[in-house]
Symmetry: D2
Subunit: 413 residues, 4 copies
């Protein structure tokens, strides 16, 4: 690989891989089955808690953290994006692993927000227990009644009232809110409708148990509830929290969201590479072990061509993710604006297609939950919407491209 | 439309459409919600039973039946495939409708088998209550341990023992077996491993309550259990039924399956046209009623192009289905061999893509169960495997194509 | 086929097919080679003139003509679109055939314009020799300096000056103007910039030898000059013709163009079906007669799947073309607005892909002129632009679709 | 870019870019027009000879050469593949540039063969004048009468007869043979039909003026003759050359071909990245400068999305090419076997699609030779066959993938 991880990362990659093979893979199917069979599937399994404990004991914990910045040294020395990429890819092979290593969305993004934008008090109260895995969090941005592809549509409100802020509105697809440990909601709402469109909204830290907060229901994504984490629809009715719970300041939500979403998207894409790689492995195992018409499946019709296409697609996508990570590391989000959107378009689509191919090779089994393929497909499909629809990301890529041409200044914006 | 339905069909189409709009559509979401909320989702809802009663009272019942053949007149005068196509398309817009009109898979295929191949006694015992809607049935062909794309792989056995037949083995994806009214299993198993590969298997009528029959579990298809019908994995352990329960005779299963699958596939494809049409309508409604960046969604980016592409794809697929129906009517299955496989490849893929586009336009809502899109997608995806994988059907189309060329006789088989 | 041609058409189809097999196919390669080898490739070959004579003698002449309308009976009783479709498909298998039968673009469209919109004098002077094959014509609409996808951009002028009309401007892609018999140019230009945008332009009959008309150059389309017909760039400098040469009246050009383009597009698409069918035949012949790695090519990798996909794509496209023809026959252009655009999008793309597949199976030979595939590909590719780009046609399809929804009246236009 | 070129390469990249902008781009269209207008288009233009002279004077010459190996130092110190990649990409933007810098196929591949496998005498006689640009060469491998996708099909013969070797057979797609300076043909033919299938063939240096060598014709590729280089069909009739003209030894042809094709393929792919990049630039220029329906083209329908998709596709392809170059540099051909085939599948297809999009945005102009797009498309299309068809390369990728799985050892080869 031309994008070489550092020696420290190399060592961590080896240990994460080892942990996956020896600790997680042998029990993963059981943990999912136990969740499914449980009277209350929204309770994390003890076996899962045990895996977390082990991972933490081995220092395989919070690896997502960015390099330390002045004032944040006490929260640990993290990895560059390029160093974290192969680790995230490995964890993406499994649905448990990101949680086991405390590297799962949306907590990672929320922790990064707190790390970068939180006051010392906010960090103490929320960041530390999140880094400890003692609590979980959700991010409340998308709304059911407006097109969230245009975030300025957001209609929920966060109004200052003395030294309190009053929160009202309805959010959905707040991932993680089904978890019993979820104690923090990061809420984004309209504060000043008269301000510049990117300065109208405020981000507020809302404890989940604040009066007026209600999880109306948990939403299935392509029929999956993703227990014990879940995706919630939440109503906020005259929810009052201290103004000290505002992040950075009123009207600063977009600025924070921008900073949050860049690396977050990269993490999703890194993990999807691992998921697609895993699906290709399953396809190869199936294709070489099952027989029809007197031949291994892989030797029938266009199956080998499809396997080749999958390999090519995965490799191209991985390289684009690494390139994006490298740009983020060396030039910051401003220098990776187009690439962050590029991977958001390319990677979930690639993963969806590779997984669909693997499902097809598995026949009916591929549709069932006997293999992780149905869940994998759903995960890839959802990501074509989850951080904004493909179409919006394509728009960003085109805009950057057009900006290179003088003549567009006049008319093509 | 160049493929004109008969006057009788025209009248029925109008009435089915009316019934859909006035009886089914207003309650469909409620029925699904009630099923989901029920303590036992495997019990059909009373509202559904009431819809069936109404449909039957209006003569909108068993419309799938083929034209009467000598000896079958008492079971009603059915429609040609071309006449049934627009009716099936209409019912495909809804997940309830096929059941309401007693026109759902796999019962339709099973009834056709009994109608065409059953003895008078078999018809009396099984066909009549199925036509009445009093019982339900399942078809037990696919097996978990072999590649069912090559049906000759089938390993379950149906062995003659005196005037009994002994059935052993494991089947899965037996759709409908979750339903409390399911009383009949049509089982296909290996009888004579030494016979010609298409004369080894036998089809047997197995009452569901026969000792040794066990529904091991119900399978999710892309995470959906499709209650109250379901898809079962069933073990058969020394299951004994009278030899009189054999259909046609030992070793005749492939012959029957061939006859069964032709029209059955066409019905699935007809319904998928309606499903895709419905998804396009939802996309248009969403696209014209939601606003982002100051415009209706439909006016953003490539959305109009995608809508045009969906319209073109649906129209082409519908015409191919009608052409296939017309060929089946005028030339029988032998004259429609390639076309039956063509629609099996083309229609589910088309539907899957149209529905995916509609999901994308609905944002997060499209992934949830607030719209029928997630269920619709799953239905289309599953059909790329359910009657044999796309790849097998492509093989049939290519084989017919090659048979036109002399030179292939030598080498290209 | 569900779309049955009439008895008269059936008979003609048989004779056209016979003529193709016995008269055209045996000499076609020679005629092209002779054109290419000729000192002046822009002279039609004598063998071609002889084929025309024979076709005419057998009544296989001007079959494109529409059914006779009052006042036009003397120009012959033509076929419905549905009846003409299989004939046009047959002629599309060959590059010579449309010319041999006097059924080639753009003369067919030009003859239809004169038939429908010409005065008796215009018909006598231009239509009759065109129907005789004595002269050829070109259509001068597209311009090099503006985006012709939006026809209202057209900048060339046709200004009335007493009882003359003065024509100025530059046109390109005027097909057929390279032919030595080309004597008539149908020119479209701006007359009244203040009028409604669809009432500004006028269509004028300009004899090619009028002073001020100059063929600046002949244009290659994907490197082919298509001798002896060609595609010209033509300058018009103060070209004066009598006002009697105006078609219908000043400002009526769009109205005429609309009527002209509907069937014209259908003809192109009908022929492309034949071209794609021919390419698939060539692919099958090659695939079954060449051997690599010990097998006929058709049995390698995904080749059979590609052949199946081609068959499915051709069949779907043909049915959509027939449906469009049937709609044009029964409901006129207004009733087929969307479908005419649908086939324009779907059919050239389908043909391009089928031909590309056939090229690939032919290896280097497929790229050469030893097979008609390179020419066929170019023909399909050019048609994605020739009657307006795909994107414009998709826009029409979407517009018709949206018009079905009330809510679009407000905003989505 | 994560794949950083060396300082030396950086400097060369800058100078090549400068040369392209100031020397080649301003005259390129003229040179092509002059070739086309010439009485003999097979004579290189004086302006082209002058460009070569200038490039050589500036040291921008033979940059394709690999790093020096022991014994080859006198032929110059070349660049690694990773360092050459951005230079080749730049030259790929132009059809002249590769020739101007003496870095064009097939001479580069032929020079590499001589450099690596030639005797000192062979180098002196052929390599030195090739490196000087004094002569040109062709590679004679593909044959018209067999499927060359399977190179062991090759039927032309190279038979030893005393101290001579006698060459017979017919080759085609021998690129460059139309050029008046072409003096060397590297011929590959069957020597020992009884040997192992990869040890049957011999590579022979055949002076073009040897009696019995006849260029039968020059072949158009998608209608282009690519003057003054061309693609020839050549017959060899009892052509006798000294046995000293054999490369390496009898039966060693496949071994040499393997070594030749690796980097050669990479060069083609590197150049295609530049070609696609150029097409995207043209699309952006057109899209922002042309107006239809009151907007710049780029703001119509899905055009921005297509531009974004093109950017994403180019970036992914470039990264895969660089990764392949890096693997070749660090692990040799054996370590890049799959990747060399991966780029051969992915890059021409990507380029073909990007160029097609650019053509579509250019309307009729895109089909003409007014823009380099028609030539660019042809170049990309031809490369899907030129070094072996996509399908064969997919086979290699799948084979490498399957080799990772133990279970394939038994059956899936």
């Amino acid at each position: 690989m031309g994008f070489e991880p550092s020696a420290r990362a190399q060592e961590l990659i080896g240990r994460v891989e080892q942990f996956l093979r020896t600790e997680i893979e042998p029990v993963e199917a059981e943990v999912h089955a136990a969740t499914k069979a449980a009277a209350d599937p929204w309770q994390p399994q003890p076996a899962f808690r045990e895996l977390q404990r082990k991972a933490r004991a081995q220092g395989l914990w919070n690896l997502f953290l960015p390099p330390a910045e002045p004032g944040n040294e006490q929260y640990g020395e993290g990895l560059s994006n390029l160093d974290y990429a192969p680790i995230a890819e490995l964890t993406g092979r499994s649905f448990l692993a990101p949680y086991v290593f405390n590297c799962n969305a949306p907590d990672t993004g929320n922790m990064e927000v707190l790390l970068r934008y939180g006051t010392p008090e906010q960090k103490k109260q929320w960041l530390e227990p999140l880094l400890d895995g003692a609590i979980r969090s959700a991010f409340c941005m998308t709304e059911p009644d407006v097109a969230s592809s245009d975030a300025t549509n957001m209609a929920a409100t966060a109004v200052l009232d003395g030294d309190e802020v009053v929160v009202n509105g309805r959010k959905w697809w707040s991932t993680g809110v089904g978890h019993p440990d979820c104690e923090l909601l990061i809420f984004m709402g309209l504060t000043d409708p008269e301000a510049h469109r990117y300065a109208r909204h405020t981000m507020v830290l809302v404890p989940r148990d604040t009066p007026g907060v209600k999880v109306e229901r948990l939403l299935p994504a392509m029929s999956r509830y993703d227990e014990p984490h879940g995706h919630g629809e939440i109503s906020f009715t005259d929810v009052r929290v201290p103004a000290a719970n505002i992040l950075v300041g009123p009207g600063r939500a977009f600025e924070i969201a921008q900073g949050r979403l860049g690396p977050g998207r990269v993490h999703h894409c890194m993990r999807l590479i691992g998921l697609a790689e895993h699906a290709l492995e399953l396809a190869l195992l199936r294709g070489t072990s099952r027989t029809a018409f007197g031949k291994p499946l892989v030797n029938l019709g266009g199956n080998r061509e499809r396997i080749a296409d999958a390999r090519i697609a995965i490799n191209q996508a991985r390289l684009l993710v690494l390139q994006t990570a490298w740009l983020l590391d060396t030039q910051g989000l401003a220098g990776a604006l187009s690439e962050v959107s590029q991977i958001k378009v390319a990677v979930p689509r690639m993963a969806q297609e590779v997984i669909d191919m693997a499902i097809q090779l598995h026949g009916g089994g591929g549709l069932s939950d006997d293999y992780p393929l149905a869940a994998a497909w759903t995960s890839a499909r959802a990501l074509r919407l989850a951080d904004g629809p493909d179409e919006v990301h394509r728009g960003v890529v085109a805009k950057v491209e057009l900006a290179k041409y003088q003549s567009t200044k006049g008319g093509a914006e």
